[in-house]
Amino acid sequence: MLKQVEGSAAVAEAIALCRPQVICAYPISPQTHIVEALGRRVDAGELTPCAFVNVESEFAAMSVAIGASATGARAYTATASQGLLFMAEAVYNAAGLGLPIVMTVANRAIGAPINIWNDHTDALSQRDCGWLQLFAEDNQEALDLHIQAFRLAEELSLPVMVCMDGFILTHAYERVDMPTQAQVDSYLPPYEPRQVLDPADPVSIGAMVGPEAFMEVRYLAHAKQQQALELIPAWADEFRRVFGRPSGGLVHEYRTSDADVIVVALGSVLGTVKDTVDEMREQGQKIGVLGITCFRPWPAVAVRAALQRAKRVVVLEKSLAVGMGGIVGNNVSASFAGASDRVHTVIAGLGGRSITRGSLHRVFGQALADSLEPLTFLDLDRALVDRVLERERAHRRSGPIAEGILKDLGVVAAKIG
């Protein structure tokens, strides 16, 4: 059924259709609307049986999900940014224990300086934790990926993180095609746990493992993620059969077949990137787009195949490995068959900075003209940076950086546009 709803409401409804049994809620922008909506549904008796637990921290949220999942319940929670970092120890633990929890991450920057706006630094900080990580391009894909996530998680006994851009998707009203309960039920069977805390068949879960077997446990986690590389496209196909629309999968290619330059990106920015590419195509420029839907496991083969004929690759990413460069860029480089100096990283949109078509035209044009630097910070205000550096040269007690920058800008609130 077609609906015009907020992204968070769409995801909440999709989660409800997946018949979750334990939902852990802790507020943090921009995911809060999702758990609010689910809480209302539980209180209204629309989700029976389902326990909605208002926990005291994100660390507790993931811990409650761990206990519930290990007891055979379908468990869900949502978080973002600082919340994801605060639960990090339990995030790794859930993966290590092999518990199929599904979590929405409404992507948001990480402080300091505190910033509530969108980038991908939060989810990408957890890229090696053992969770599957799926990135939604729009709200339709966000809700679809959640349905696929439960299926994937439970089949593999691994937790799955569905990442959707904070505010840009979570708070945007878009048209979505909401599936029926019957469709979801036919796609997602009831949860059959591989391990369960059951007095009738007692097991110990979470024993200490030393050097004699730790490597094997870790290898199995890696092998399972490799298995997911086959399951994800297969279930995206099945999803298309049941729901009548393509959604999910490992990567999305757009106008890449004859492209000299391919832009790689994840999340909602793909919309702007495709618009820009369409405009450049109209001017006869051979440029295409590779959208990464599945970031973990990293779809190395699919990425390599998609980039095979590209002369240059531009990785546009909303994240930064401080002291190194691009996180996505680094992953793409490892999968690019050509010379690594043909992969350019463009860091963009940090802390909610707008990524405009004008700016994209500029960097993509530079890539086509072979003049793009290996690492670019899109729309960086160099003069502002230089003023801080000058102040630090001049004064030992140069003061807090972020506050100094705001003073230089002459504004009290962060500039969004």
Partner: protein
């Protein structure tokens, strides 16, 4: 006419042994139905108070729930010595997740059981004092506040023993640990610090809070059974001496626990819905020196020239407990 009243102190203490008791009065541990939930073969130190306390507590919980029990365990000695891969001593469904989240994992288990309609299956979460009073305190307080249907048992040996004896917020004043060494001007752990978790638990007004020691294992069993009669959040704080960390003989664990109670340093009581309902009386309060002297963690207090002032302050703490909880029946003493 003067007379000497005769008191039978043994009456009601169950020290007469199980053979002379009725079936229902016998301890779980002496019964044929004992479940050995924490089975033999684990790797606890000789004289480990925690292993003893956990065995009695969990077997009692098993008896009280007709063996329908699931346990969540914090990281710590109990977890490490009971589950070295690929072995486990646990005969019950048991999960270890992290150091600081046992209470929250317990909440999750209870929530899952509730939605599955398994009302007869009950949940225990357990940890040491570090996992309870320090790193797990946030999750524990959250579980209390929501009144989740979990019995949390803290086995308190008054320091981080698993990592090699460091101070926790349950370490008593003047105790020597590896992070409160009595060197230079320092006299061990400071006065005026630390948490009283049973009282904090009571402040949450949860249905049931109790303290116990491994000196009165029958009492511990009875408190676990009583706890299982309630729904909602319950808390039992068990004092479990640690020969390694306290520096007493491994055969003196129970003696140390008994002295902690009889000096008044560790009040043993039960509380329901925030009110103390019962205290285990002390027949004759012993001086704190009796408890402190056998433990090397307090040895610096008695090395010449000694710290009589500090011992007096510890005595004052014990006396305050006696007064606060009414541990000594003074009227009886006067007769």
């Amino acid at each position: 006419m003067s007379y000497q009243p005769i008191r039978f102190y043994q009456t009601g203490t169950f020290t007469v042994g199980n053979r002379l008791l009725t079936e229902e009065q016998r301890s779980v541990q002496s019964g044929r139905e004992r479940t050995n939930s924490l089975n033999s073969g684990h790797r606890a130190c000789q004289g480990c108070g925690e292993a003893l306390g956990a065995r009695y507590a969990i077997d009692a919980a098993m008896a009280a729930t007709n063996r329908q029990l699931v346990a969540a365990n914090a990281t710590g000695c109990l977890e490490v010595f009971s589950t070295p891969y690929p072995e486990t001593s646990w005969q019950i469904p048991w999960i270890h997740s992290l150091f600081g989240n046992a209470a929250a994992v317990g909440t999750g288990i209870a929530a899952a059981l509730q939605v599955q309609g398994k009302r007869d299956v009950r949940v225990v979460a357990q940890g040491g004092d570090g996992g309870t009073t320090d790193i797990g305190f946030g999750c524990l307080s959250g579980m209390f506040e929501r009144n989740d249907d979990v019995l949390y048992i803290c086995y308190d040996n008054e320091a981080y023993m698993n990592t090699g004896v460091q101070r926790s917020s349950a370490t008593p004043p003047t105790a020597r640990t590896n992070t409160t060494m009595p060197v230079g001007e320092s006299t061990g752990a400071r006065f005026g610090q630390g948490k009283n978790l049973p009282l904090i638990a009571m402040a949450h007004e949860i249905p049931y809070v109790a303290t116990a020691t491994v000196a009165e294992l029958r009492d511990l069993e009875a408190k676990v059974r009583r706890a299982m009669e309630f729904r909602g959040a319950r808390y039992i704080h068990v004092l479990v001496p640690c020969p390694l960390g306290w520096g007493h003989g491994s055969a003196e664990t129970i003696k140390m626990a008994r002295l902690a109670h009889e000096t008044g340093l560790f009040p043993v009581f039960e509380a329901e819905h925030g009110e103390v309902k019962h205290v285990s009386k002390i027949r004759r309060q012993l001086p704190v020196e009796d408890y402190l002297k056998p433990q090397t963690r307090f040895a610096h207090l008695f090395k010449p020239p000694g710290h009589a002032d500090l011992v007096a302050r510890i005595q004052a703490l014990a006396d305050r407990n006696v007064k606060r909880f009414g541990l000594v029946d003074h009227a009886e003493e006067a007769t």
